[in-house]
């Protein structure tokens, strides 16, 4: 995207509105056709460009202006290249659920330029959720931009407005029957091209999608809290999920500025399976009196370069939730996820972690 003064022809690469030399308005110019005028193959990796070798092309447009373009393909001098304009495609994304994760998904999806149909059973909870999202977005936005962004969210208590969304992400409580009902309802009203995603962290996506007419479009998209900050989305391919649906889920994740990974429909997927065996094992070390709370956390931070120790992290997640997840994993994987007795005791006594003011640490 270039900005050119209608009067003197000076150009900017930044969105200026008026020419500083003649005070005349500046027009946007969207060029798509370029000729390769120079190329170098880069062999040195850097933090933002770790995969080498890659090429940097010097491209010239028909007005004689240049731009650089990174590519992994070799091009010859004088090749003609078509580069898509900066304008990003806007999708309609349906989000169901006004809890922490539902709000997080709405925030990242609307922030990246999409329209949102935000569905919940109660108008009041929708209102409250949008207020929270607005507060969070307002930290980095000018008032006009915030208004425009919030303007892309449509709140509804009905399913019908979701019928023509590109993607619907279900983010309601972790209850198989509830999620199944939602999938059946969506399956019956939505056009078959609509991707149905569950943001489940512990249930089987195949089971959630059981019995629907178009199970090939059902996929898992597991986001991580706090969603606006955490980069990862696990993409879960259920038994009948099509490759196309998986591919689209990855594309949507990228569109939301997230990094996605593939994982089969198994309990805990990647992150929770690994994370909770560690958290449970840290608690078991307490059972056995191997080390104290502070030293376990300190050791993992300094010895394994974890940003937080397993016990302070479990306090943050909530010990009740930790126990629930570990019990689920225990059902699937057996003995290796046998919950620690210390963890059980803490939960029994209501020491749920940070939210309760007391867990492994006092808050």
């Amino acid at each position: 995207m270039k900005y050119r003064c209608d009067s003197c022809g000076r150009e900017w690469d930044y969105p200026v509105k008026f020419c500083i030399f003649c005070g005349k308005p500046v027009s946007k110019i969207d060029v798509t056709k370029y000729t390769v005028k120079g190329i170098t193959q880069v062999f040195v990796p850097s933090v933002d460009h770790p995969t080498t070798p890659y090429y940097v092309m010097l491209l010239k447009d028909s007005n004689g202006s240049y731009k650089f373009q990174k590519t992994f393909e070799h091009h010859n001098i004088e090749d003609v290249i078509y580069v898509k304009g900066k304008k990003e495609e806007e999708y309609t994304i349906g989000v169901i659920g006004t809890g922490l994760t539902g709000k997080g998904v709405v925030e990242v999806a609307v922030k990246t330029g999409n329209r949102i149909i935000f569905k919940s059973r109660s108008e009041k909870s929708l209102e409250k959720a949008i207020e929270t999202i607005s507060k969070s977005l307002s930290k980095g936005m000018e008032p006009e931009e915030l208004e425009a962004t919030l303007g892309r969210i449509t709140a509804t208590t009905r399913y019908e407005p979701l019928a023509n969304a590109s993607l619907i992400i279900e983010s309601v409580i972790e209850n198989l029957q509830t999620k199944k009902k939602i999938f059946q309802k969506l399956d019956s009203i939505c056009n078959p091209s609509v991707i149905l995603a569950s943001n489940t962290s512990s249930l089987s996506v195949s089971k959630i999608a059981e019995g629907i007419k178009h199970p090939e479009r059902a996929v898992g998209m597991h986001f991580f809290n706090p969603i606006p900050k955490m980069k990862l989305v696990e993409i879960i391919k259920a038994e009948k999920t099509s490759d196309d649906a998986v591919k689209k889920a990855h594309e949507f994740a990228a569109k939301f500025n997230k990094v996605s990974v593939d994982v089969k429909d198994t309990a805990g997927f990647i992150v929770n399976r690994l994370l909770f065996i560690m958290i449970n094992e840290a608690c078991r070390m307490l059972d056995e009196g191997v080390a104290n709370v502070k030293d376990i956390d300190k050791a993992m931070k300094l010895g394994a370069n974890h940003p937080m120790g397993p016990l302070e992290l479990s306090d943050l997640i909530g010990l009740d939730l930790c126990l629930e997840i570990i019990e689920n994993l225990n059902t699937s994987f057996g003995e290796k996820f046998e919950p620690s007795s210390t963890l059980r005791n803490f939960v029994k006594e209501g020491h749920y972690g940070r939210k309760a003011g007391r867990g492994f640490y006092e808050y």
Partner: protein
């Protein structure tokens, strides 16, 4: 304005911290000058990546800590690789009430992984147009080299000769990053590719180091060297925002102004330090400075005109390629070398009969250019 004292550290991968390097260079410059620390009225410090690489900004106050009780005005200048040259120009442009000004450049980069340093150095380029598209620093000059070689039918052999000369000069400079490195054409040509067509020996190293100058309004001793030209110009930050890709408009403008101020012509220059961050940059510098016509820089190197015994020796200290490139320090180190040569104190790399010397310091890929012309008294 006169240069009444110079001092610098060794360049290379150094153990010393940023304050230690600063202190050593300042100490040496004051030791070399008749001017005492108590006679200094202001300090200008040049540095590029203190923030990203050391987590240290507010360098003017840090310098105050090194000189306890002085409470002097200290200014910081940042213009990527031209920070040093710009600091000298800034000192030159200061109000007359500042009679003695200490200029010091410092850079400390080698305590981080190379991938991070490469990213940090790329901060000299536009964040969206260059950094996002993977145009790391060597890639900028690779694009320039690619354009130049095709435009003037030159070859990589022409570039290799620049590297060979500068590495040879560095072996005669005990403070150079590559003082102990014996380099021949085979080593250069068989080195790994960095950004085609530039290989490892086309590139300057990533160096730590510091250099300092004492500048005085009046002559202090017979060893003083006079600044007879000091000029500076800028250009757009990205190469892709310009029309000319094989020379730098900012360098040509700065050179023109400096020559006019000094009342000399390119042919009067006896010795020069030019900004050879990459071999191609030395060739372009010679053309921008008017030492030859466009497209003829390679000829000057091939004829040996720019070697120690040639008619216009260039980068006698080894240049950025051989002496090293502690980014914010470089422009000041270039002046240290010319001063040593004009004083006749350059040891085994001394060039005979030099009276007028020039330094050419570039920031980024020609986004900033600073040219100084110095006159000796011999």
């Amino acid at each position: 304005m006169y240069i009444t004292g110079i001092g610098r550290t060794k360049f290379g991968i150094l153990e010393k911290s940023l304050p230690e390097l600063l202190y050593e260079a300042i100490y040496k410059a004051l030791d070399d000058s008749p001017v005492e620390i108590t006679d200094i009225n202001a300090i200008i410090v040049a540095n590029f990546l203190g923030g990203p690489s050391q987590g240290q900004l507010h360098l003017n106050s840090l310098i105050s800590s090194l000189l306890p009780g002085t409470n002097l005005p200290v200014f910081r200048v940042e213009a990527a690789c031209a920070s040093g040259g710009l600091a000298v120009h800034q000192a030159f442009s200061m109000p007359k009430k500042f009679k003695n000004i200490l200029v010091v450049g410092v850079e400390k980069l080698n305590n981080l992984p190379t991938k991070t340093v490469t990213k940090n150095l790329a901060m000299a380029g536009d964040v969206l147009r260059d950094q996002k598209e993977g145009v790391i620093f060597p890639a900028q000059y690779a694009i320039v080299a690619d354009q130049y070689l095709r435009k003037y039918a030159a070859t990589h052999d022409d570039l290799a000769l620049v590297s060979l000369k500068n590495h040879r000069n560095a072996t005669l400079n005990p403070l150079a990053h590559f003082h102990h490195k014996d380099v021949d054409l085979e080593t250069i040509n068989s080195s790994p590719m960095v950004c085609s067509p530039l290989n490892l020996f086309d590139c300057c190293p990533i160096s730590d180091g510091s250099a300092s100058l004492i500048l005085s309004r009046t002559k202090k001793s017979d060893q003083d060297i006079k600044i007879i030209g000091s000029a500076f110009a800028t250009d757009s930050i990205s190469l892709s925002q310009r029309k000319e890709l094989t020379n730098f408009k900012a360098a040509k403008l700065a050179a023109k102004t400096a020559y006019e101020m000094a009342k000399v012509r390119p042919k009067n220059i006896d010795i020069a330090e030019v900004h050879d961050c990459f071999t191609i940059a030395e060739i372009i510098a010679m053309e921008d400075l008017g030492f030859c016509n466009k497209g003829e820089g390679t000829k000057l190197v091939r004829n040996g005109d720019t070697s120690l015994s040639g008619k216009l020796p260039i980068n006698t200290d080894g240049g950025l390629i051989g002496d090293g490139h502690p980014v914010g320090t470089t422009g000041i180190a270039q002046i240290c070398e010319i001063v040593q040569q004009l004083r006749g104190e350059a040891g085994r790399r001394q060039v005979s009969n030099t009276k007028i010397g020039l330094t050419h310091n570039i920031g980024g890929v020609g986004g900033t250019a600073v040219v100084h012309i110095l006159e000796g008294f011999k």
